[in-house]
């Protein structure tokens, strides 16, 4: 008896979607008139900004929970940590370490809570994470718009609105700006490689890859494959799912920290918005589906998605003399990718039922 692995895998989502993105970006780049060096520089910056956020989505997908739109909760945890530290005016390295420490603590607790909730709604995780994101957003707004100056004592008057209650729209992060971004900066022609930050992103990628290739990772995969079967295979399904979600939320929090320090300032009430949609779309653009995601999908996806993101407004400007069109195109691309991936995924499901002939 001999069975060989089948290779009916051409034309699957894993290959088609990245190629479509490659062609689209190339076409849009042609019309945009932007120089290749400029686009590449921008893509590298965004790779660093968005990379860890996208990577944070991988584990929940592998654990069978679909796209974790609640990564914006992780993002909000970091912003909350930042605001508290700025409020108490802890500057310098101590400040950065405190932000990291606090954002990990906050996101750990948030991940734990979301994990518990998701264990009660098995099979409907994605819609629930979206709603959790909305809910957390309104709590966040409430705390910083109303809480500061009322029940949270204000120490740093600079970040408070002139009426004395609520945090300002934009908070400067100049004390942290460009501290690590320019570390080990290499230049090849016009293209800048901030090697240190690229390595940081790759280090996170490596860590997740490693984790998924341990016994713990096998358990995550098993849970993602089937709850019931994993349970009778002796795995504590609920616990694994909670751990997966905590990991995802903490990674998202760290990702948002990298994102914010790279930009150098942040809009208190809007910086986290779209973090979920854009990261999810980037992951899917790399060829992931809501059932399977690999590290390479995240890395390739960030590149492809952001290339399109950068060139499309300019292409819209040149083609239709209307830059706003490009902006619309951006959100069309983001939501379109997600919708497409969800639909293709269902078709994919049907094909999986093909069974090899009996021995």
């Amino acid at each position: 008896m001999k069975i060989n692995a089948q290779d009916y895998k051409f034309f699957n989502i894993e290959i088609v979607v990245p190629i479509v993105f490659l062609l689209l970006s190339f076409g849009a780049w042609q019309f945009s008139g932007l120089s290749g060096a400029f686009v590449l520089n921008q893509v590298i910056i965004r790779f660093i900004r968005d990379g860890i956020l996208v990577l944070s989505l991988v584990i929940p997908v592998v654990a069978g929970m679909g796209l974790n739109f609640a990564v914006i909760v992780g993002a909000m945890c970091t912003q909350a940590a930042l605001l508290f530290v700025i409020n108490y005016q802890v500057a310098g390295v101590a400040g950065i370490l405190l932000v990291i420490f606090l954002s990990i603590i906050f996101s750990l607790l948030a991940g734990l809570a979301i994990g518990y909730v998701l264990n009660r709604v098995k099979g409907k995780e994605m819609i629930v994470t979206i709603i959790i994101g909305f809910l957390a957003n309104s709590i966040y707004q409430l705390v910083f718009l109303v809480g500061f100056g009322t029940f949270i004592p204000v120490i740093n008057e600079e970040i408070i609105l002139s009426r004395g209650i609520g945090v300002r729209n934009a908070v400067d992060l100049s004390m942290y700006r460009n501290t690590i971004d320019k570390l080990w900066l290499f230049k090849i022609g016009e293209i800048e490689f901030p090697l240190f930050m690229i390595l940081v992103v790759l280090l996170f990628a490596g860590m997740i890859y490693y984790l998924l290739n341990t016994r713990f990772g096998q358990e995550i995969k098993a849970v993602g494959s089937s709850h019931e079967k994993a349970e009778i295979a002796g795995i504590n399904v609920d616990l694994i799912r909670i751990k997966a979600l905590i990991l995802s939320t903490v990674l998202a929090a760290l990702g948002q920290l990298v994102f914010l320090q790279n930009i150098g300032m942040f809009d208190v009430y809007t910086a986290h918005m779209n973090a979920d949609v854009i990261s999810c779309a980037a992951l899917l653009a790399g060829g992931a589906s809501i059932k399977s995601a690999k590290i390479r999908h995240a890395l390739i996806g960030v590149f492809l998605f952001h290339t399109l993101f950068i060139v499309s407004p300019q292409a819209g400007q040149n083609l239709f003399h209307n830059a706003a069109l490009g902006e619309y195109f951006r959100s069309f691309v983001a939501y379109g990718t997600i919708a497409f991936a969800l639909i293709v995924n269902i078709k994919h499901e049907d094909k999986r039922l093909v069974v090899s002939p009996p021995l």
Partner: protein, 522 residues
């Protein structure tokens, strides 16, 4: 020899219905202990308890004592049972579909790099995939299967999955007690023998094995002791040498007081429907080329072990699962398995999945009874242009009222939601719906499943009455053999999705037991 497992006065009930009553059982090291019993006799419940299946705890736990190596245990999860050194090969397989063969076999005991072992501990140590694949391939080779272990399990045929399921357990070094639930059911004779050989080798090395099988021949061949379960009780126990297949079959089926009985009669042999090479792709219950002719006006019983296809016939005819083959109904070929068209032709099916397919749980009893009749045959519409035919409430209520009295459906009012009725009354509502449609040919699947004894008899009586007064041809698919024997004119036994034998209802019990197990009696 030392007892690995000792069970004392174990009882378990699901929602007040007893599934196991005072079970005593022991397994010695190096013993193969067979357990046989008909469907619903409590075998699966026993396995679930031993292996710590969470469903046991969710439904209120169990009474009694389980001693494992002399120590009292109370397994709460499968993980706990595995850590104790128990292993189980499940009938429906505990394989993760998206993992490869190697990953499935090695799950939880993957070989890892020594370096990262020291660094992070075994749970967070990097997996050495090559060594795992080699190990998995080696175990499968022992079982006589050479296969690329990188294939995902979802792409495997059922018999290959069975090998993988067993390989996972055989590969374990810490295994002391192995529970096997129908390990040979999906294997060919030759593969089954290979497997048995491996099992006997393992038991000689000191492993205790609980072996559940419907293949009585195998049980007789390999078991050191056999325990027969019936209706949740231990009815008999035999040592090696005392085991006889016909005795086991008799003990399994048992004798019961007969109640609703249809007298035997002569049948005409005009066929009303015949199936030629009829196949239905219902997962887990496939029909594979059934040849069966049903005579006009008879009650035909259809029985098989679970998974051998008795339920698929009705579903296939209604187009719920893809079907192939030829169906001749009243000299006409049925080309399309379409529920609506077939109901118009006079064929109706009452499914076994009552909650999911049989009733509209949130609708009233009256709606449920008239639903099909009104939707398909437009029986209760006021005389108006077709799509605007409003429901004739008076006519409908009168009809429903009559049926409720006739069938003695216990309800607060005919507007009560069906969900609130008991199982027996829900089944009566289904019957009332079938009566409203007034079919010429009625399929009923598991009509008495999950309902109490008095309601059972009433349902059976109804079926007999329907047959005798309206000459409706009825096909009952059921695993309740003694009920079929009381009601049916003929009983067809299916094995592996094919017709195995048609028996007269007064054939001896042993013959049924043998036929169900796929053994040609002498």
């Amino acid at each position: 020899m030392e007892n690995i497992l000792e069970i004392k006065e174990l009882s378990k009930a699901y929602h007040g219905v007893p599934a196991l009553i005072d079970i005593d059982l022991s397994v010695k090291a190096g013993e193969i202990h067979g357990i046989v019993g008909a469907n619903g006799s409590g075998k699966s419940t026993l396995m679930n308890i031993l292996f710590g299946n969470p469903i046991v705890r969710e439904t209120g736990g169990y009474q009694g004592e389980i001693l494992y190596r002399g120590r009292r245990i109370h397994p709460k999860s499968c993980g706990e049972a595995i850590r104790l050194g128990m292993g189980m090969a499940h009938q429906e397989f505990a394989l993760l579909p998206d993992l490869t063969i190697a990953e499935n076999i090695k799950l939880g005991r993957e070989r890892t790099w020594k370096f990262t072992d020291r660094l992070f501990g075994p749970k967070y140590s990097f997996i050495d995939r090559k060594r795992n694949a080699a190990g998995a391939a080696q175990v499968l080779h022992q079982l006589g299967l050479d296969v690329d272990v990188g294939i995902k399990v979802i792409n495997l045929a059922t018999n290959t999955k069975q090998f993988v399921e067993l390989a996972r357990e055989i590969d374990r070094r810490d295994l002391q007690l192995l529970l096997l639930d129908e390990p040979t059911a999906v294997l060919s004779k030759r593969d089954g023998l290979k497997l048995i050989e491996v099992l006997m080798g393992m038991s000689q090395a000191g492993l205790g094995i609980i072996f559940i099988s419907h293949r009585l021949e195998e049980v007789e061949h390999i078991c050191d002791r056999v325990t027969v379960l019936r209706d949740g009780r231990v009815v008999s126990r035999y040592n090696k040498g005392e085991i006889s297949i016909s005795q086991l079959a008799r003990d399994m089926i048992g004798h019961r007081v007969n109640k609703a009985i249809a007298p035997a009669r002569d049948l005409n042999t005009r066929p009303v429907i015949s199936f030629r090479q009829f196949s239905v792709d219902m997962p887990g219950e496939e029909l594979k080329g059934l040849d069966l002719t049903v005579f006009e006006g008879e009650i035909l019983g259809l029985t098989s072990l679970s998974g051998h296809g008795k339920l698929a016939l009705g579903y296939g005819l209604m187009g719920l699962y893809p079907a192939a083959g030829e169906v001749i109904y009243k000299h006409q070929r049925i080309d399309q398995m379409d529920a609506r068209a077939n109901i118009r032709k006079g064929i109706y099916v009452l499914p076994d999945d009552r909650q999911g397919l049989g009733i509209l749980p949130e609708h009233s009893l009256a709606d449920n009874i008239i639903f099909t009749g009104n939707q398909v045959k437009n029986l209760f519409a006021k005389n108006m242009v077709r799509p605007f035919g409003f429901l004739d409430q008076k006519k409908a209520d009168l009809h429903v009222g009559q049926l409720v009295d006739e069938l003695e459906i216990k309800c607060a009012s005919i507007k009560q939601k069906v969900r609130e009725l008991s199982g027996g009354n829900q089944q009566k509502v289904c019957m009332a719906r079938a009566l409203t449609v007034d079919p010429k040919l009625l399929f009923v699947a598991e009509p008495t499943r999950g309902i109490d004894i008095s309601a059972k008899e009433k349902i059976l009586k109804l079926l007999i009455d329907l047959n005798r007064t309206k000459q409706t041809t009825i096909i009952i698919a059921s695993s309740e053999l003694d009920e079929l024997k009381r009601v049916c004119d003929r009983i067809a036994v299916l094995v592996e999705g094919k017709l195995f034998k048609i028996l007269a209802p007064d054939s001896p019990e042993v013959e049924f037991g043998l036929a169900l197990a796929g053994e040609q009696g002498n």
